[in-house]
Amino acid sequence: MSEPNLVSISSRRGRRLQALGEPQPSGFTDLALAALVATAYIVLLLHTVGSLGYTRDEGSYFQAARFYQGWFEQLWYSPAIALRNVDSAWRVNNEHPSLVKSLFALSNLFLQRRWHLFAMEGTSFRFPGMVLSGLGIGLVYLWGTRARGRLCGLVAALSLGFMPRFFYHAHLACFDAPVVTMWTLCAYCYWRALGRGGWLWPIAVGIAFGLALDTKHNSWFLPVACGLHALLLELGVWLARARSGPLHPEQRLQVRLRRRRSLAALGSMALLGPPVFYALWPWIWHDTVKRLAEFAKFHLDHVYYDMEYFGRNYWTPPMPRSYAFVMTVATVPAITLLLFFVGLVASRRTGPQSSAPRAPTRSEIEPGTALLWLLAIAVPYAAWLSPKTPIFGGTKHWMTAYPFLALFAGVGLCAAVRAARRAWTAATVPGWLAALARGPGLELAFAAAVLVAPVVETLHVHPWGLSSYSPLVGGAAGGATLGLNRGFWGYSTGAVTGYLNATAKRNARVYLHDTSPFAWDMLYADRRLRLDILSAQTIAGADFGLYHHEMHMQSQEYQNWVAFGTVRPDFMAGLDGVPVIWVYRQPEAPAGSTGSPAPARDPVPASTQMP
């Protein structure tokens, strides 16, 4: 059965199909489309951010960003003093590099304090993370389009953007979504450096690697992925020689070119990455070696936080080796996973030549696209094969693999479309199906069918992304029944502000449980929480007790029971009937009783209360 000549179907329709289904060499159209996809995603993130509470880690990054902001202002007005005060400002939260936190600081400084662009203060800190997430989506579109065609790029970008957990993290003032973008950017630059040659892309690889280093420590694994890629390509050449004898002169030229370009790209990562990293993180300007050693030690010897997995609480090694794989299956939309596997098989069956269906010029070579994507997935996941790797981060710690999983999903959809077109234009099928197969409607129908579930799931579970599970495990209720973690970071406090605002008496005190005080303060700054509602350090003496459910935190709930003398939550919020956060309330003292006096506190004028 031969593939129909698409162009011959009709020249205009054929061109349309070609534009969807074949790699795009270059051009501004796809850059513009990538920008459009990125912008649309950022707009969606901005539109949906208002219902999200703040996580513990965000609280720390807000605080750090404020210190850095002060330093930036000082640098502007009194550079000499600022350069003397580097350590005092950048000491804060020095366990993480500063690039993204600096962006948080500058975003708040300019976009909010100067130009008042956002309705909520917290959004200004989150905005850089959203922009970087959007750029990541655009980049995946661009890469998929360049490598395998527009349809692949589009499906890949949207498959990534509508993974519920990625969508959740894309909103945050954290590093997990930004490092996904930086990781992808660095891998993309490396891929371009291999494919195109010249000096621009190798330099870009080095800079991108430096930026990734300055974003999060996941980036330490990037040289491993790229280095392995170069090595495995060499191994492939060696095997080909062993199997079929000497290479053709043209092939030899390609191998030499690729080898030179791999070395240039890896060399650039080694030479340019560290200086960029150094330049953008003022904390390591002094005592560099000592501070870098401390930074590395912090992450290599990271404490083990508790995490529930199949009804068991893991808090010390050995950690379950299946965790990353099972959690991926349980949280990534099933259709995306199916497409990923189809894409893997299709990439294997069609081999490397499919990535360059155009006749390459002498300087353009096939850069081992599928291998690079596979390594960019395998390397992040490999860490979780060690029983010593902590699992407390849920899915976010291997999220750098997701763009590549999505790219394979794009390939998978293209393969399915090709197979359908082959079968439906050549065989006896109903007329409407044959008509569909002859036009671009087939691509659109397939793309819509595989994207609708991820889009609906992602929007449905928001803002409970950290508590969401795919239908493969029975959704949120299935996850809870299986004993999978329902959330961490105290991320759900945003869901109870309405209740507290409506219920709390003046100057009421709230025990925050897992909410960080800085995250709580941001709710005031956003005007989402009445200013007279105060936080309490302990359950005893509080009028309300928040409880963010995690398996190992249940003793916190029991503290509420005994302290308040009730087992009845007054309010609860969660996803699809599964509670994630609930609130205990001090029962009203019976009329005429003289309960213990409330602790003294400053009166809050009525004008400071939220309307």
Binding site: A416, A423, L451, V452, A540, Q554, R568, P569, D570, M572
Partner: protein, 317 residues
Amino acid sequence: MSWAARFGGARATARRYFAALVPLAGLCELAAHHHFAERAPRFEAWAAVDEPVNRLRQAGDLLVVAPRWAEPMARRKLGDQDMLLADLARPDVDRYRTAIELSILGQRAPELAGWRELGREKVGKFELRRLENPRPLPVTFDFVGALGPEQVSVQMVGPGVTPCPWAAQAPVLAPGRGGHPTFPARRFACPLGELFNVGVTVIADQDFLPRRCIWAHPPAWGELKIRYRKVDLGEVIAGHGGMDWMIERELHGAPIRLTVKVDGQTVGEAIHRDGQGWARFEFGLGAHAHARGAEVEFAVSSPNYQNRHFCFEANTR
């Protein structure tokens, strides 16, 4: 047409439509998403269980929710009258003759496995079953429930004797994250520090299940003695002891000795070691069995009192 031809035709048709499985899988996931998202009752829907629970439930029935994650909704709708702390933080289910199992999603309470079903009712997404314990072990006296100044005295006996007086309105101490369990307002307060008190609290066991128990932190020297007067005894004194799991799991602490005496005579001794979790003990009462108005003493001690957040429950059957 032969079977081979038919089979070949079916294979050709299957191959023809194979590619359609991909979009079909996407649409199936959408349907599955809707199914699972709607499957569990919403929080407000739990109001529907109030009437049938109260109709089916008889005095002494334990109420258990399955799966356990759904229990907060039942507590919210049924309140403290129907969801008693003593039942929620029960030491075990042996003492109950009958139970109501309130379940959703077709789940069952594992601890009620083997109980005989007396009746069942389905109300919307909820299922209620009345169950009978095939081997109940009724409690004749619950030491946790009886803790109070009327029947109990507490003292620390070391180099000297330090009485721990009853406080009916002591400040509640509930430190929050990483702290000890709540110390209730009604407790025996020893003068050596906040940790040294005897009151009824709730700890989380090795499975993070709630366990209502008597807080009995051993002193630095000697023993903490909790003495009950006028106890009508059964044949055994049984119970459980342990610590909040976050403390116990570190496996760093010294063993804790719990000695039980009846009318001054030792009837049993349990040694609790870190890692045992909520551990059961049972002592036969021998000649003291079925004694009326006996004096029962629980003595708690440890060679090293650091982080010994011991808590126990006991009863006689």
